[in-house]
Amino acid sequence: MEIPRHWRLKQQRYGLVGEVCPHCDYKIFPPRDVCPNCGDEAKTLYTFSGKGEVFSFTTIYEAPTGFDHAAPYTVAIVKLDEGPMVTAQLTDLGDQPIEIGMPVEMVTRKMRNDGDERGVIVYGYKFRPAVVAA
C-alpha cells in the first residue's frame, strides 16, 4: 500500500503541476524546490500547458506488476513546450504510428490499482497524439 505517496503526489500527477524559478523563469518538472538552472530556491507552483512532442519512445511487452493488464503499451520521453523532459505512457494511439517529434498533449488517466481491484485507483498524466482541429 502506497496511499500516502499517491496522496502527496496527486497535484503533480493529475495536473502536471511543477514549479517555476522566480529568479530565472526556468520551468521545473517534477518539482524539486531548487532550480536546476541557477541553483536558487524555486518553490512557485506552475501548471504546465500539457503540450509537447515525442523525444523518444519504446513499447513495453513484459509489463511490471500492476501494469500487466494494459500491456503492450508505449512509454515515451516527452519534451514539454516549456522545456522539461518527462517520461510518461502514451495513450489513445488507436492504429496511429508513433514518430519522433509527434505533437502530444497531456491527459489525466487511470495508471493502475494500488494493489488489486480492491485498492485505490491511481490517476496520473499520460500523453496522447494531439487532437487536430477539424
Binding site: 489513445d92 488507436g94 488517466r109 477539424a134
Partner: protein, 353 residues
C-alpha cells in the same frame, strides 16, 4: 395548478461548457455479427468505447477542463463540483473530489456525486441553477458522464456508450447562454434498474417506451412550454435524451419539432447512448454552432423515472467562447474502429481470474 417552473432569483446561465467522447468506436453491425447474425434493424450506426485507462473520473476531468477554457474563470471561483453518472468508478469515494482536485478547484467547494439513471447530469445542473441563482455561489460545475455497459448480447449492448459533458453555471451577465427556467416531471416507474453488485442493468423491455421515456419527456417539455407560453416554433434547436435514434426523433415529432431543429444535437447514431451525458452532449454540439439569440429546448430523461426540461437562450458571448476549446464534432471525428474482441477487452468483459 401552481406555477411549477423553476426560476432562480438571480438570472443564471451557462458560462462555459465542454464535452468528451473517447476515441474508440464499435459498429452496431459488429455487435450483431457476434450475437444476432445480420437479422433486424440496428438502433445506431456505432457507439463510443472508452480505452483501458478511461473511466467517468478521467472523462469528467477532460470535459471539465474544456468547460474551464470556455468559462475563462479561475478554478478557485468554483463553489461546487457535481458529477452525475451511473458508472462512478467507486461504490464509496466520490468522483467529484478527484475531478475537483485535477482542475485545481479544491478545497473551498461543495462536491458530490449524483445518481438518477440517465438524468443525473441535468439534476446537477438544476441544483447548480439554484445554488448560483440564490446568490450563495457565483460558479458551480455540473457534469453528466457515463461509461455505460450492456449485458453481452442484450439489446442495450448495441447502444450503451461512453461520453458526456460539463457545464459551468454562473451569473447570466457572464453567460454564453442563459438558463431561463427549468421544469422536472418525476414518477416511480420501474423501466430500468441495476441492483448493487450487479455489473449489468435489467430493463422492462416494452415498458421502456410509452410509460417511461415518452410520458416523462413529453410531459416535462409540454409543461415547460405551456407555462412559458412558447411552442416548438419559438425554438431554433431542441435536444432530447437519446437512448437510440428513433425515440428522440419521435418525441420531437410529438412535440411539434422538425427534423432540422434536432439535427445538430442528435449524436446517438454516431456515438451511442452516453446515458447521463446523452442529452447534454447534444446540447454542447448545438452550442458549438449556435448564434446569439438562438433559443434551445433541452429535455433529459432518467429511468426510474423523470425528465428535466430547460429553456435556454444563447447570448452574444457564444461568438468568442465556442472556439476556446475542442468542439464536440472534433471528438466525434477522432475515431478508431475496433472489433468485438478488442471491445470485450477494453470493457473488461473477459474474466482473467
Amino acid at each position: 395548478m401552481p406555477n411549477t417552473l423553476l426560476t432562480p432569483n438571480r438570472p443564471v446561465g451557462i458560462v462555459g461548457y465542454g464535452s468528451y467522447v473517447p476515441r474508440y468506436r464499435i459498429a452496431a453491425r459488429e455487435i450483431a455479427r457476434v450475437w444476432a447474425g445480420s437479422k433486424g434493424g440496428l438502433p445506431v450506426k456505432e457507439k463510443a468505447v472508452p480505452g483501458l485507462d478511461e473511466d467517468v473520473i478521467t472523462m469528467s476531468i477532460e470535459a471539465a477542463r474544456n468547460a474551464m477554457l470556455r468559462a475563462q474563470i479561475e478554478p478557485a471561483q468554483l463553489r461546487a463540483v457535481w458529477v452525475g453518472s451511473e458508472s462512478h468508478p467507486y461504490a464509496v469515494k466520490p468522483t467529484s473530489t478527484v475531478v475537483a482536485e485535477a482542475i485545481g478547484a479544491v478545497p473551498h467547494i461543495q462536491a458530490g456525486d449524483w445518481e438518477f439513471a440517465c438524468k443525473a447530469g441535468t439534476e446537477a445542473m438544476v441544483a447548480a441553477m439554484g445554488f448560483v441563482g440564490s446568490g450563495m455561489a457565483d460558479y458551480a460545475l455540473a457534469i453528466g458522464m457515463d461509461t455505460a455497459q450492456g449485458k453481452p448480447g442484450d439489446a442495450l449492448e448495441y447502444t450503451a456508450a461512453a461520453g458526456g459533458a460539463a457545464f459551468i453555471i454562473g451569473p447570466a451577465e457572464n453567460a454564453l447562454a442563459t438558463l431561463n427556467a427549468s421544469y422536472s416531471y418525476v414518477t416511480d416507474t420501474p423501466d430500468f434498474w441495476r441492483r448493487e453488485y450487479q455489473k449489468y442493468p435489467e430493463h422492462g423491455v416494452r415498458f421502456t417506451g410509452e410509460p417511461a421515456y415518452f410520458q416523462h419527456i413529453t410531459s416535462s417539455s409540454k409543461t415547460l412550454m405551456a407555462e412559458l407560453g412558447t411552442t416548438a416554433k419559438d425554438y431554433q434547436w431542441a435536444v432530447f435524451h437519446q437512448p437510440n435514434t428513433k425515440f428522440p426523433q419521435r418525441a420531437a415529432q410529438m412535440l411539434g419539432f422538425t427534423p432540422e431543429q434536432i439535427a445538430p444535437g442528435l449524436l446517438v447514431p454516431v456515438i451511442g447512448n452516453t446515458y447521463s451525458g446523452a442529452s447534454i452532449i447534444g446540447l454542447t454540439a448545438i452550442l458549438d454552432i449556435a448564434k446569439p439569440g438562438d433559443r434551445i429546448l433541452l429535455a433529459s430523461f432518467g429511468s426510474g423515472a423523470g425528465s428535466d426540461a430547460f429553456d435556454i437562450t444563447v447570448t452574444d458571448k457564444i461568438t468568442l467562447r465556442a472556439g476556446l476549446a475542442r468542439k464536440t464534432q472534433e471528438y466525434i471525428a477522432r475515431r478508431t474502429e475496433i472489433d468485438y474482441a478488442t471491445y470485450a477487452r477494453y470493457r473488461d468483459k473477459i474474466t482473467m481470474k
